[in-house]
């Protein structure tokens, strides 16, 4: 299947999901589904760098929060700016930060990049905490409109629709990469960077492309967050949960294809929501961490990989 039919198929699935949601018209369902779809985007974004090229980004919260706080800034400057534009801006800001970090550290062994991204999360949090314009440590309030523009109904429906749209774009991009020269170049880097260079692969440039794409999608996924939570402070915007989920979901689902992050996000996200409602929210955050460790130790190919192997 080419990229265009694939994208159309995704749009149909997304439209069907949205239609079901409209018909049910339960606000809670939209709030819960938004989180799962957001994690599909985050997991896919992480996987473009981590799964395809093998470079582990731990700074998900930095990129995600950069998107979220870009929206806060824009909201304070131009409150009437449409949310899709804020998402694009958040994506650009996060992508540029990815480019800078990558440029400084991607020439070195992969672990140094990973360590730098870990530290990046702390430093971006420090910067935001010290920046009074966006509320500093106290946090910022964002007024969520009551009614959704264009489509009517509750505003959460609009947020969900935007995230669904972003998800379609992210998945289409990821799948297109897999089937393109870029995807083969990424795989060569993941397998053996020196041999990739010797085969003509411009490894630094490809790694930077992956980092920018990955960071950009994370930023875009974070941009609607202020409207979702309506109150954003550094400790919630930079919660380690986002990072653990975004890493755990692709690794649990399987990192070798676009389907992995989707399977991981739906399973883990759904399980977490179930535990949050039935047991407690403290246990629910533990789930992703435990599953992550169990899967990387026992089933490194993830669920998709397990099924592929069985089929062979």
């Amino acid at each position: 299947m080419g990229s265009v039919p694939f994208a159309l198929a995704l749009v149909c699935v997304a439209a069907a999901l949205f239609a079901v949601g409209r018909w049910l018209n339960i606000s809670y369902a939209f709030f819960a589904a938004y989180v799962v779809v957001q994690y599909i985007v985050l997991g896919t974004a992480w996987n473009i760098l981590g799964g395809y090229t093998g470079y582990v980004n731990f700074g998900i919260t930095a990129f995600f929060a950069l998107g979220a706080y870009s929206s806060v800034v824009l909201y304070k400057l131009v409150p009437s700016l449409p949310l899709p534009i804020m998402m694009v801006v958040g994506g650009i800001v996060a992508g540029l930060v990815g480019l800078g970090t990558g440029y400084l550290t991607l020439r070195l062994r992969g672990v140094f990049f990973s360590i730098a991204t870990l530290a990046l999360a702390v430093v971006v949090q420090t910067l935001i905490t010290n920046w009074d314009f966006v509320g500093g440590a106290r946090g910022a309030y964002v007024l969520r409109p009551r009614v959704a523009p264009l489509i009517g109904g509750d505003y959460i429906q609009y947020l969900f629709l935007l995230m669904l749209g972003l998800c379609v774009i992210a998945l289409t991009t990821a799948r297109a990469i897999e089937h393109s020269a870029l995807g083969y170049g990424f795989a060569a880097i993941r397998d053996d960077e020196g041999a990739a260079e010797a085969s003509g692969v411009p490894t630094l440039r490809l790694k930077l492309i992956a980092t920018v794409l990955s960071g950009g999608f994370m930023g875009m996924a974070g941009a609607p967050l202020p409207y979702y939570v309506t109150y954003l402070d550094p400790s919630s915007g930079f919660s380690l949960n986002y990072a653990v989920n975004a890493i755990a979901m692709p690794l649990i689902g399987g990192t070798s294809s676009w389907l992995g992050p989707v399977v991981g996000a739906v399973l883990v996200g759904g399980l977490q929501e179930y535990i949050r409602v039935t047991i407690s929210s403290a246990v629910n955050v533990l789930v992703a961490g435990v599953l992550l460790v169990v899967f990387v130790v026992l089933a490194p190919e993830g669920i998709v990989g397990l099924f592929r192997r069985r089929r062979r």
């Binding site: 070195l108 360590i115 999360a121 702390v122 430093v123 380690l240 653990v244 961490g289």
Partner: protein, 291 residues
Amino acid sequence: MDASLDLLLNAVISGLLLGGFYAAVSIGVAISFGMLDIVNIAHPGFILLGSYVAYFANTVLGMDPILAAVIALPAFYALGALVYQIYYIAFERRQDQSLGGLSFFFGLLFITEVGLVLIFGVDYRLVQARYIGPSLNLGWVELPLRLFVPFLVSMVMVVGLQLFLSRSFLGRAIEAVAQDQLALRLMAANPTRIKRVAFGLSFATAAIAGAILIIIQPVEPSIGREYIGRVFAICVLGGLGSFSGMVIAAVTLGVVESLTATFFGPSWAPAVSFGVLLVTLAVRPSGILGR
């Protein structure tokens, strides 16, 4: 004396003491990452585990936190050996250290943090001891014992480990593993066993580092994260695998952070290590003492 000079001097002194403490926090990573090439980013989480062990022993049993850490050493060593064994089977043997191994330790970091939250909650906890509070007054500088005792403990640990590595047979074997695994295998030693011992040791240092951390400041489960950037900045700046470089780097970072905190405000201090780390990686990835 000039007030700002006084401020500067005290900032430098407390930075030196803080840096000494950072050496204790970093030495575990200097062993695991620097010598064994295992990127144990969960180490700061295990340090917090050490802090809470000290907290528990102190509040429930009334024990001195440092004594509690010493008693906990064997348990930490055993836990470290276990973690290494899993790491070895799951990643090192399969040659999948980067993606799987890094994620494994990230998962452990998260589990430790959330586990501590579930048991102890998110409030700050602290310990009681005679040396928390009073200061040594040396004329125009004050040496708070709360910083000085951890500094001493840290130095004893660093020097002790350095002596162990350079003098004892097992220590030399560990250094040999760090240099060249093949040569060691030819000598009929088992590198996996030696790495397990070394990793156990690196893990055990977390017990001590945790105890002195909670002496220096009250802790809550998520502050471990702040130490990740710091610890790796120190190890990279010091040149991987070199203890003396690591101590110099730790003290340097301590002083720079302390000056930053004094003159720009404490909320900026965490950014220092990231700056140091990025600049080191970009300019001199082999560290200050590297070739």
